[in-house]
Symmetry: C2
Subunit: 585 residues, 2 copies
Amino acid sequence: MITRMSTFFLRTLREDPADAEVPSHKLLVRAGYIRRVAPGVYSWLPLGLRVLHRIEAIVRREMDAIGAQEIRLPALLPREYYEKTGRWTEYGDSLLRLKDRKGADYLLGPTHEEMFTDLVKGEYSSYRDFPVILYQIQTKYRDEERPRAGILRGREFIMKDSYSFTMDDEGLEEAYQLHRRAYRRIFDSLGVEYAICAATSGAMGGSASEEFLAVSPSGEDTFVRATDGDYAANVEAVVTPAPAERPVDGLPAAKVYETPDATTMDALLEWARSENLTVDGRPVELSDTLKCLVVKITPPGGEPELTGILLPGDREADMKRLEASVEPATVELAGEKDFADNPFLVKGYVGPKGLADNGVRVLADPRVVTGTSWITGADRKNRHVANMVAGRDFTVDGYIEAAEIREGDPAPEGMGTLTLERGIEIGHIFQLGRKYTEAFDVQILDEDGRRSVPTMGSYGLGVSRLVAVLAEQMHDEKGLRWPAGVAPFDVHVVIANKDAAAGEAAQELAEGLDAAGLEVLFDERPKVSPGVKFKDAELLGIPLVVIVGRGFAEGKVELRNRLTGETTDIAYDGAVGTISGMVSR
Amino acid sequence: MITRMSTFFLRTLREDPADAEVPSHKLLVRAGYIRRVAPGVYSWLPLGLRVLHRIEAIVRREMDAIGAQEIRLPALLPREYYEKTGRWTEYGDSLLRLKDRKGADYLLGPTHEEMFTDLVKGEYSSYRDFPVILYQIQTKYRDEERPRAGILRGREFIMKDSYSFTMDDEGLEEAYQLHRRAYRRIFDSLGVEYAICAATSGAMGGSASEEFLAVSPSGEDTFVRATDGDYAANVEAVVTPAPAERPVDGLPAAKVYETPDATTMDALLEWARSENLTVDGRPVELSDTLKCLVVKITPPGGEPELTGILLPGDREADMKRLEASVEPATVELAGEKDFADNPFLVKGYVGPKGLADNGVRVLADPRVVTGTSWITGADRKNRHVANMVAGRDFTVDGYIEAAEIREGDPAPEGMGTLTLERGIEIGHIFQLGRKYTEAFDVQILDEDGRRSVPTMGSYGLGVSRLVAVLAEQMHDEKGLRWPAGVAPFDVHVVIANKDAAAGEAAQELAEGLDAAGLEVLFDERPKVSPGVKFKDAELLGIPLVVIVGRGFAEGKVELRNRLTGETTDIAYDGAVGTISGMVSR
């Protein structure tokens, strides 16, 4: 069926919406793909819904191809399922909760691990039933603290989520790899530029996990890539290479100095240089100083534990990395009261020795290996100590990833250095293990007739978010640009010639293309100038625009490729065949 | 792609679920189409989702064919839209309400008139933009007081809802008729047996409305059909034909009798017959007695008004009809306090005269026309009055539909009599008029440049409910039976022969049917007996079952038509062609 612009439910806007900051948000609203209803809640207009449907079809195709079976669970879910895993509480304010008329508690599903686990428990009982992979394409809800960027981070959004259940870890690894390949095929089909990043598992629990991040300056996630290799990782998941331990013999003894003016790390360095202090025979650097950050770490349901975090002085603490390192425990900086309650903590002069001597747990950056020498706080006001050697003058209780990652840091396994990039999470795959199957007491008879708890994977893919991601990555200054196969229409036919014969010829061309199986948008608006039509075509971003304009008198129509910008004239006669040959879906 | 039973996410159940009362609920659960998550909240398993998707495709096809444009609005909606029309309050307990993390009020959309009106207001401004019909296929929420019958009346369900916006009443009538025809095509395609019933508009407001009711003993709605004609109506919408008025001259005078034992209508009739009372010269009937029901009617935001409802003594009051007659006002029966506060109301002896004399509004059944004679209460204890003539001895303030409808009542326009049937609402179409466009102050410039408020229609169709309706209407004692085009698969191939060659032949046949474009369910479970496979096939209800069984030795396979019960043998050679020729979608 041809869609005619004169009756199409579409009004393009000249102005960017006032609340829009990123290009996809501006353009999807201006081009009439989406409309805002509330913060993070959007309506899909005909153009947007067409893109969404096409993405869904690609996702469905690739999920079916790995043997995943589609089902659909409700969004309105009873509290008791999420109580079993503690997530009713753990989700905090990001869960939308409600009561029904009888006062029973419900939530709007943010993700469905509990529900799928309970479902499989109800249907399956023997190892012969496994493996099984189930998926749904479904509307999800998260009450984001700051919904932003249109549909990039909404509160009501569409996800494909799937769940694998297998009897053993090999099965889980296989289901995980099937998903990894399916995701690659999906994102490759869509033409998304993305990186697969090693990730932390976060609130999901479980062991291995990887994030698919679409590369975009509008992204909220920072990730690293190696300059010489295919390593990529979420910043939270980057592991700092530890230098080799060194012998402590023969290193100069620790010495305390009066340092009344060294109130910052930079001032400390300046003082150390003025004293001509050295490390390994060279002048000291900022990276030879050692910060002692005092924090409180609270395990779930437990008491806060005072902890010292040792970091090289040239690195800021990255609280997100620190939080990811201790999850599910939470972290906060020690406050005035903590310092008051623990007089051995001398603000500005905390050192590793004072902490250890007073029974405070000490966790260090991996660079603080045995044999390294540091200038650090001497646990007395206006005093620092130099030549504090790890493993000799102080020991640590463990290592932790808490320091910031910087552009140029070494990549693992000799893959050069790291670059820092921004990305948008479009997929996340998890090897969950038995967290959920144990919580729901899923007991399956194995080959030997013994009860066994199956292991589980969970795999999310942001379907509605992908519409925004494609807009982010593909747009130019004139508007949207859609790859073939995802575009709301295959071809956009424009009448740009007032001659009645040209109008009829355009109509025939549109009908011919429709008959050839293409989705045709036909701009036959009688009172709209060619200039406005061209501008609209650029804004809407259908990959192929066919213009029946001036050249029609010489039997020609113009093709504009919205992706490459190329313009060519082709003969009107045979144009249907020429054009449909060019459109690959 | 072939779906193999050995890995298909499906477990059929032998027992009906404990909470199931109607056949569709029992069978859809037993056959593994749906699973319950909470009262009125269900999961769709692979079989159920396939039926749902096919119904959606048919609905989409027919909506597109009338020029309706698909969009999708959110389910999570801010309160303010529904405040504008008062429905935030009017919906009462059936609305699911919630707060976000900032305390803002939201609801889960039960229907979207407000949202579509606001959307069109935002996009369109000129008469040239109209008419427009928009639709969505979307998940809706209603907190039903008694969710029942599985997906027949759920709290989370899928609807197609559409909305027409036109500049004038002719446009509305046209959009309404387009929908009426589209609905007929949809239900005819699905093979649903249904009636189109005149309906009341209820909480929607507006003028004309019709309900599409699927005929089913499991239905909650009662409707009437004419024996000789195509009239059908919701019971609430049946209009009682009023007899002609009669002259009052020469009718006997009203006379009060002592009737100490006449405490019921039947006892009153017995007494009247013992007194040899007559009406029109014939012995009195129960239909010559007149009941005076005392109720309180409360308009929205107003005070309750005491009202007398006059009904022939042979008819019960139908509170649903009475409620529909006064909507949006509400009705309740007068209570002890009302009788105590109004001593002229003599319980058991209330008559029309006492009501009118004391300023109480009197509304009568349409049969109580001028010139009719009645035996009724005399407003004193133990007293009735005979020969009370309407229009002579008492007058009424208006007429009202409050009496029950009975099988055999006359149908309108000489179409015989009425039969009473049960039905399930599958569609409802409304000519809304300007209720919503006025509430949202939609101003459109008309041809003369004047501001004009467009008129609106709203059209609902129960997509997920249709799955249950088809199960209700098509099932037999053995299980489900799906019409072609809606069935989860086109053909169900069963191996019922242990011979390896037969198994391979069945596999080839399944592959051939798949290659021919059919959706194939392949029961190749190695350890399941043919008997169990046949029972499962009957339960699942795929319309065509192909059995590679005993006859395979003679080069034959068996076809079982699940709809007709017919069994035929066909040659294995060429079976793909034979079978695909039989499957029409």
